[in-house]
Symmetry: C2
Subunit: 189 residues, 2 copies
Amino acid sequence: MARTLARRADVIGPIAEAFREHGYDGATLSLISKATGLGKGSLYHFFPGGKEEMAKAVLIEVEAWFEAQIFARLETGERSAAEIGRMFDAVAEYFRSGRRVCLVGAFALSDSRDHFAVALRAYFDRWIAALKQALIRAGCDEAAAAGLAEEAVAGVQGAIVLARALDDPAVFARCIARLKARLEPRPSA
Amino acid sequence: MARTLARRADVIGPIAEAFREHGYDGATLSLISKATGLGKGSLYHFFPGGKEEMAKAVLIEVEAWFEAQIFARLETGERSAAEIGRMFDAVAEYFRSGRRVCLVGAFALSDSRDHFAVALRAYFDRWIAALKQALIRAGCDEAAAAGLAEEAVAGVQGAIVLARALDDPAVFARCIARLKARLEPRPSA
DNA sequence: GTCTATAAAGCGATAGAC
DNA sequence: GTCTATCGCTTTATAGAC
């Protein structure tokens, strides 16, 4: 039952990777064509709105992945302290210890921020809200949880920037380990 | 004594701003031309290597600014605890509470990272080393200082990303305030 | 030192055959 | 659904007048 014809869902992953590696401007249609194995004609068949529609589809898919794999579990997982630890592990794997860029973070620093403002804000708002909820359920008071959640999400983004600039995944690992330790509930809290 | 002819040094600032606002790819020569008020002919007169030479010149100028205004004072300032606080204030002003992107951080996330790898690494290595030195002089032991310095520099970058994504300078201010508090020497340390 | 004109290449996007 | 050919435009970079 080999599928020879592509579905739209099949090409979003490779397109996302092209945007991560080259940025919005740098990911030219010919690069995207190479990454997906599809000609421009096919790409415009799936995304009539062109490059901008591709980027929006990618952002939607990225948030859906985080929602299913990370955000939802933070809010509803039974042992929420364990879920927080799991979040850091999942994030380290997803971003490949800083070798892989966060698409949303990269767009936030780029020229295209205003174009995708709604999606960028939604992603980070949601992440912070889910993490805050997990912290509260783990015993934090609300104010402390809000601060720690914001700090951790910013910290992950900073870890990616720094690890890429120094070209050293160990930097990323250390940053994540520090955040993880800081968000662990301690007897004194 | 009005100067009508431009010097190379006069145009690096506007070029830096163009790269910050639009990224390396997005900062086209016609945008740079508009930002500097100079035609392409003049730009190539100052930077025969074209856009790449402009970016390298900008990175050198940025590091020189940080060296003079921040790094050197961290290492040699008399009251090093006060210098650390001053660093956060200077950084908040320089990055305009996250409204202004860190050029080095943005390059690190972008496609052009490999092209400017040496400059990116130098900037962050230097920042971390200077901050670590200040922390040691303020009473930290070496291991703690290394961790705190790395955490703070990453934290600043993350604060910029997050504040831009959420389009909220208050996010930046809170992140910086938390970092500042964490690096303050306390009696228990 | 500054400009305009221009070259050569690549861009996003479209048309239309299959 | 996929492709090739092509349009119109912008890009970086160069040439040469002033």
